[in-house]
């Protein structure tokens, strides 16, 4: 579930970030609202709304897809803040040079700005993705067959909470740590001297 949510979420983040910086009034405002809402609502509330509340207006999603949609929106909103910040931190001269060569705005954004902005945003984005791994446990409350939910069921059958929840915790921790290490390696691989995050 995370594997699906992450790429879509990151793609959404890029769209939102670009929209807020380069979009016209309407797009920019819409993007800002979307980001504001999904950063402001607790993730669990977003999940509950998608799964329990939307059916009232006729929109039905299965537990799995509710979770995916929810997480995509939440992580997309959080990641877009990093994307937006890093886009703005790419120096203005890059944009000038691209346009002086005759590039169109989309060309400038895709080939010049984003490659630099996304490299700088990678640490922040990878942080958000790791949060997502942990918050996936919330999906058990909308019926997704998820590790935490399984642990709870287990616990109600054989009451050994310390072992069960501790083990579950360690599995999450292991996944999170593997992701963390993986992202550090990824950062090193795409590192270009001169293009680094300004902290």
């Amino acid at each position: 579930m995370i594997v699906v949510s992450v790429p879509i979420g990151t793609a959404l983040a890029i769209v939102l970030g670009v929209a807020r910086v380069y979009g016209n009034r309407a797009f920019s405002l819409a993007a800002t609202c979307v980001v504001g809402v999904f950063r402001g609502f607790p993730a669990i509330v977003t999940l509950l709304i998608i799964f329990f509340a939307l059916p009232e207006v006729g929109v039905y999603f299965s537990p799995y897809w509710s979770a995916v949609l929810g997480f995509v929106l939440v992580t997309g909103a959080y990641q877009s803040e990093y994307v937006r910040g890093c886009i703005q931190s790419v120096s203005a001269g890059q944009s000038l040079a691209a346009r002086a060569l005759g590039m169109t705005r989309p060309q400038e954004v895709i080939y010049v700005i984003l490659p630099q902005a996304l490299r700088a945003a990678l640490p922040g984005i990878s942080n958000e993705i790791i949060y997502l791994v942990l918050y996936s446990s919330l999906a058990s409350y909308i019926g997704v067959q998820e590790m935490f939910g399984v642990a709870r069921t287990f616990n109600s059958l054989n009451f050994r909470p310390i072992e069960i929840f501790f083990t579950a915790g360690l599995v999450y921790a292991a996944i999170a740590t593997v992701c963390f290490v993986g992202f550090r390696l990824l950062e090193r691989r795409v590192r270009i001297p001169g293009v680094e995050a300004a902290r």
Binding site: L101, G102, Y111, V112, I192, P193, G194
Partner: protein, 254 residues
Amino acid sequence: MAETNVVLKVDGLEKSFADNRILSGVSFEIDRGQIKVICGPSGSGKSTLLRCLNLLTEPDKGRVWLEGQEITNANVDVNSVRQRIGFVFQEFNLFNHLTALRNVSLALEKVKKMSKDEANALAMKELARVNLANDAHKYPAELSGGQKQRVAIARALAMNPVIMFYDEPTSALDPHLIGEVLDVMKKLAQEKLTSLVVTHEIGFARSVADEIMFMGEGKILEHGPPSQIIDKPTHEAVRLFFKRINELYRRDED
């Protein structure tokens, strides 16, 4: 295309930022093969002028013609105009995430729609022209200031422009690196590549320019051949400017 010998014609250019009048009526012409230099104190609007000419900044009033085509007309495709003008920035503005080679070839591929091989071949040729063929695979952060500026020149040249604009190309360089960039610019001038250069380098202007235009208070105060402007100017402000510079150099000679 009527007068194809006049590459650039400017008439009555005006530009203000907030309440500041930066350009208050600039007019001139550049013929094919001419090298014109713009000198003047900081704040006289030199950079703004260049940026208005390739439409990076929109002028408030005035008209500009590139090879007979009026580019200040609203219906003009800005991007195709900019392809015909080569712009070299004071701060280089190389694309940091790309190698020198890719810096030069990116626009060739995306804007001129060349194939990857064609673009790379042309890019290597231009880099060789500025003596950087061996550093083609380095990233901007690994290059010295002089090397960066030469890549920037190659990048602009590769687009095969009809005129080159240089916006104080050596002002951000350490003194010992200025020479290599000026040498490249001199070489290009000798090849009669139409150029408009904003610079403080009087020696360069004297040896290469066909005409110097002195800017002050948002206008061209005086223009003429280097021997006239530098040694025997008529306008008071121009005389003062060069008098001070000459004093500076003379003091160094003692």
